[in-house]
């Protein structure tokens, strides 16, 4: 739709600007708060201009951490989160693309029920099955380990479903042409399906990375050693214990630190991401 009336232009921009402000203003406040000293909030008025404690706050949080609150240095937690998010994203993509490949291109008994089973788990969030999963992970001795953090959430019905839908749009003749060209199933997968799925993989990687990064409940349940804490848990610990002390500057610094990596991932993969969501190369 192309409209070209000044009033409508004004209106659309107004709505856009309001929307952007609504999203950006809290982030801005958080950043400002993270640059002030601990006493600057006593008055109850939140400052709107940056303070001079930027390096002190961030340095303290990254290097030392708030050990009284049970939060190890943020650098460690950031590394933990990064490792977990990357493993989850890679794992989810690898597993789901292979399952989708099996479901779409092979005829085996119970193929359709298998698909529907996977599809139905879409309706079951982690929280629903968290107790049995905890029991299994505990019995396997995976508490307080990276495998315990990653493996229980590594299967993805959503991603499997998306890859399936994508594979279904690849013309069947492509597979037949490859067969005539002497490419077996695995070769077809590697030489043709994988490259064609490139943009989908990139888009899913971002989504799954952020999903992994934002894991909260699960890491909280299975990690008791600070060595395995993730950054989202760290913020919670910082906030709940510091409640009395009103050290909001540190909490906000933690929030900003935790929010940064997903933003960076999006910025750097944005081109592929947008492409993957709106078009497929065909």
């Amino acid at each position: 739709m192309v409209e070209n009336r000044p009033f409508l232009n004004f209106l659309t921009h107004l709505v856009l600007i309001l929307g952007v402000l609504t999203v950006v203003f809290p982030v801005y406040l958080a950043f400002i708060a993270s640059t002030h000293g601990p006493t600057d909030f006593m008055s109850g008025i939140v400052p709107l201009l940056p303070g001079d404690h930027f390096s002190a706050n961030y340095g303290y949080l990254l290097g030392t951490g708030e050990s009284t609150a049970g939060a190890p240095p943020f650098l460690l937690m950031l590394a933990n989160s990064l490792a977990m998010a990357i493993m989850i994203a890679f794992g989810k993509i690898a597993i789901s693309i292979i399952s989708a490949f099996a479901i779409v291109y092979f005829r085996f008994p119970l193929r359709v029920p298998a698909f529907w089973l996977i599809f139905m788990t879409l309706m079951l969030p982690v929280e629903v099955r968290i107790l049995p999963t905890y029991k299994v992970v505990a019995d396997l001795g995976m508490l307080n380990s990276y495998s315990g953090l990653v493996i229980p959430v590594i299967a993805s019905a959503t991603a499997t479903f998306l890859f399936r839908q994508f594979f279904l749009t690849v013309p069947e003749e492509m597979m037949e042409a490859a067969r005539v060209d002497g490419a077996g199933p695995m070769k077809f997968f590697r030489d043709i399906l994988l490259p064609l799925s490139r943009t989908n993989i990139a888009a899913l990687f971002i989504i799954m990375f952020i999903y992994g990064w934002n894991q909260y409940l699960w890491p909280m349940l299975i990690t008791t050693e600070p060595h395995y804490y993730t950054v989202v848990m760290g913020i919670k610990r910082l906030a709940s214990v510091l409640d009395g002390d009103n050290q909001w500057n540190l909490v906000m610094a933690g929030v900003i630190l935790a929010g940064l990596p997903p933003v960076l991932v999006i910025i750097f993969m944005q081109r592929l991401f947008v492409k993957g969501l709106v078009e497929t190369e065909k």
Binding site: E173, M174, E176, A178, R179, V180, D181, G182, D191, I192
Partner: protein
């Protein structure tokens, strides 16, 4: 190079859908066979069984002297050109052509040479580094052909390769395919539902209907002696006129009119009479003819098609545009060029030998 023998082949799809019944077809080495028939008659199914993309439910397919029923497509030594080309969109034209050779472990130098040769033959050399999406439909079609040629297979299989092109390009590509096939001498099976394409390309036509072979023959044989009303109405444009008639001894009654057959009547009683539009002409006053009521005309340039009725039956005649027309006319028919079919089965009646059409033999050019 190889012959292809299709022996009593049938196909039943899962779910019990029967697509093809008892096909028997022997294709000589280097022959260009066209499978033609209306949509859904099983052409693609038959071709795909030869290619190995569909399992063979009944019968046997032999390529050369080898039964290939259980051989993978890649090992059948065939190449296929698909209707939508099925080029690999993420590969350059070069890699599209080279992919099949690479998979067979062909040495790099030989791949280069073969791709270059095929590209030159098809005049796509300047596009070798492009991706298919940056090519026009016609260029993509050439790439698809190239992918078949580089492999130097025993047989080419085409499934309606030209139907996504515009009319003009279709004609020129048609010529090109024929020329290439002659030059390479590769046995080919070509599927189309376009009877003109079928006529122009084929060494032999195979007309399919409802999963069965209706007729096999050289294009002109099929044109001049269609084996059934189905073939008669399918091959040739405009379609052959088919009208109800009655044979009384040596006379043929069509509606109110009577035509003397001059000693040529294969049977007696009711028959379906076939007559090509070009075998009808405006009658002179003194000859026996059918009363023709003109309804409308179509101009083809060299010819004019006049559509109308004889009695209550539709008839189309092709006449010279110079002849003056009037609403009520009389058309005469060359009785030696009449075709008679059984009313019940639609099959051509025995003894109904077509008149010698004066055809000069065509020497294969090139």
């Amino acid at each position: 190079m190889a012959s292809i023998d299709v022996e009593n082949v049938g196909k039943v799809y899962s779910g019990g859908v029967r697509a093809v019944t008892d096909i028997k077809l022997n294709i000589a080495d280097g022959e260009f066979i066209v499978l033609v028939g209306p949509s859904g008659c099983g052409k693609s199914t038959l071709l795909r069984m030869v290619a190995g993309l569909e399992t063979i439910s009944e019968g046997e397919v032999k390529i050369g002297s080898r039964v290939v029923n259980n051989v993978e497509p890649a090992d059948r030594d065939i190449a296929m050109v698909f209707q939508n080309y099925a080029l690999y969109p993420h590969m350059t034209v070069y890699n599209n052509l080279a992919y099949g050779l690479k998979n067979r472990g062909t040495p790099k130098a030989e791949i280069d040479a073969r791709v270059a040769e095929a590209a030159r033959m098809l005049e796509i050399t300047q596009y070798l580094e492009r991706k298919p999406r940056a090519l026009s439909g016609g260029q993509r079609q050439r790439v698809a052909m190239g992918r078949a040629i580089v492999r130097k297979p025993a047989a080419f299989l085409f499934d309606e390769p030209l139907s996504n092109l515009d009319a003009k390009l279709r004609v020129s590509m048609r010529g090109e395919i024929k020329r290439l096939q002659r030059r390479l001498g590769t046995t080919s099976i070509y599927v189309t539902h376009d009877q003109l394409e079928a006529m122009t390309l084929a060494d032999r036509l195979v007309v399919l209907n409802g999963g069965q072979i209706e007729q096999i023959g050289a294009p002109l044989e099929v044109y001049h002696a269609p084996a059934s009303t189905f073939v008669a109405s399918f091959i040739g444009s405009p379609a052959m006129n088919l009208v109800k008639g009655e044979l009384h001894g040596d006379k043929l009654a069509i509606g109110p009119a009577m035509v003397a057959l001059n000693g040529f009547a294969p049977t007696s009683g009711a028959v379906t009479v076939g007559v090509r539009a070009e075998d009808l002409r405006i009658a002179r006053d003194d000859e026996e003819a059918l009363p023709f009521h003109l309804e409308y005309t179509e101009e083809l340039g060299a010819q004019r098609l006049i559509h109308g009725t004889v009695g209550d039956q539709q008839i189309t005649a092709a006449v010279s545009p110079e002849i003056a027309l009037s609403p009520e006319m009389r058309v005469a028919v060359d009785t030696k060029r009449l075709h008679f079919f059984s009313i019940d089965t639609g099959k051509r009646l025995p003894g109904n030998v077509p008149a010698e059409a004066k055809l000069a033999p065509v020497e294969p050019v090139i």
